[in-house]
């Protein structure tokens, strides 16, 4: 199945590697979605497949941003425990207040705000596609 247009409209704006990641992930989900729906006991008339894949894309983007924030924050904490002020790798520099660390936090906060503004903050608590599907059904039922 082709990726939902709603999703590709967004991914078209992303840098190539990030776009590849998101779209590749959604294709994997697409291939496995019959099992995911069955595991979650959700029917496609409750959560249409296109909507599930679109929200999975939004969620995947969140996990990329949130994952980097976790890694940087905790890596810096561990590095500090070992006596380093920060971490440099390639052209990037990670230390308290460095442009890269501030940039990660800002993007995290902005995307979180965006999710909140559209009442999709629950996505930040999701850990699996099945949980995402269940949450989407709950939201549809609540609506």
């Amino acid at each position: 199945m082709a990726l939902p247009q709603s999703l590709t409209r967004v991914t078209a704006e992303l840098p190539f590697a990030l776009r590849q990641d998101i779209e590749g992930y959604i294709r994997t989900l697409d291939a496995a979605q019959r099992d995911i729906y069955a595991d979650a006991e959700v029917k496609t008339d409750e959560v249409p497949s296109e909507d599930f894949l679109f929200f999975a894309g939004i969620w995947r983007l969140w996990t990329q941003i949130d994952g980097q924030r976790w890694i940087v924050r905790n890596s810096l904490q561990i590095a500090t425990e070992f006596g380093a002020r920060g971490i440099s790798a390639g052209g990037f520099s990670y230390s308290v207040g460095s442009d890269d660390v501030v940039g990660i936090r800002q993007l995290h906060d902005r995307y979180h705000d965006w999710l909140q503004r559209h009442e999709f903050e629950f996505l930040v608590q999701i850990h699996t596609p099945r949980a995402l599907l269940e949450a989407l059904r709950a939201q549809a039922n609540a609506g």
Partner: protein, 237 residues
């Protein structure tokens, strides 16, 4: 659905356009952050196992992490772990010869544990070039991926272990390996373990495959910075 997906998509598209530069940075630093995180997990593993872990070769107070194949290891930082069962070093992105000694066969492992002193600490004399770590000096290693752990990724990792440390796929560890509390060759991933992989990973023990798969390691690293932490690399059959 109570929401208009098309409107939402247009809003997110505007958001991505607005913060284009930050998304570019997000994309650019993705793999390097994984390797940094994996390095920290390895260092913390030895710390939690009772080793005295210290950092060496800092640059202006910062850890300088080697990314990719370029650069000589002595120009980058390393961790040293000293314990009852020996002294070891943790490096990033070291080329390692394969287990068979095939001419020219080198694999660059993301995180590499070696006996202390196995990697030169300064440039070699007479303009000689350091090419690789002899396989016999490779204690263990980590591969870091940003992907969901799906069967083919596990198969790829098993292939790497087969080339670098095949004994771990034959139910054998080097003498003293467990006593020294080393971790088995590990695949760490930012993604979660795909449903189809759970049985595969669950079957490692019965098949005597001494390898580790750590999913969602961004969460694992968060746990490590708390009191009473347990290394996500510890354990195994």
């Amino acid at each position: 659905m109570p929401v208009d997906v098309e409107t939402l998509a247009m809003s997110l598209r505007s958001f991505v356009r607005r913060y284009k530069t930050q998304f570019q940075r997000l994309s650019d630093r993705k793999s390097q952050l994984l390797e940094i995180g994996a390095l920290m997990i390895a260092a913390q593993h030895y710390d939690l196992c009772g080793y005295t872990v210290t950092l060496h070769n800092l640059r202006k107070g910062n850890i300088r992490v080697k990314l990719g194949t370029r650069g000589d290891p002595w120009n980058f930082s390393r961790f040293e772990a000293v314990g009852e069962y020996g002294s070891f070093e943790i490096h990033t992105n070291l080329p390692v010869t394969d287990a068979l000694g095939t001419e020219g066969a080198r694999y660059v492992a993301d995180i590499v544990v070696v006996p202390a002193g196995a990697v030169p600490r300064s440039a070699l004399g007479d303009g000689a070039k350091w090419l690789d770590l002899p396989n016999t000096d490779l204690v263990t290693f980590i591969e870091a991926k940003a992907l969901v752990i799906y069967p083919m990724l596990i198969a790829q990792f098993i292939g790497i272990v087969h080339e670098l440390k095949p004994e771990f796929l034959k139910g054998k560890r080097p003498p003293g390996f467990l006593a020294a509390k080393h971790f088995d060759p590990a695949l760490v991933s930012l993604g979660y373990l795909h449903g189809t992989c759970k049985n595969i990973v669950g079957g490692f023990e019965g098949r005597k495959l001494y390898i580790r798969v750590v999913d969602e390691f961004d969460r694992a690293i968060a746990q490590l910075s708390r009191d009473g932490a347990v290394s996500p690399l510890a354990g195994g059959p």
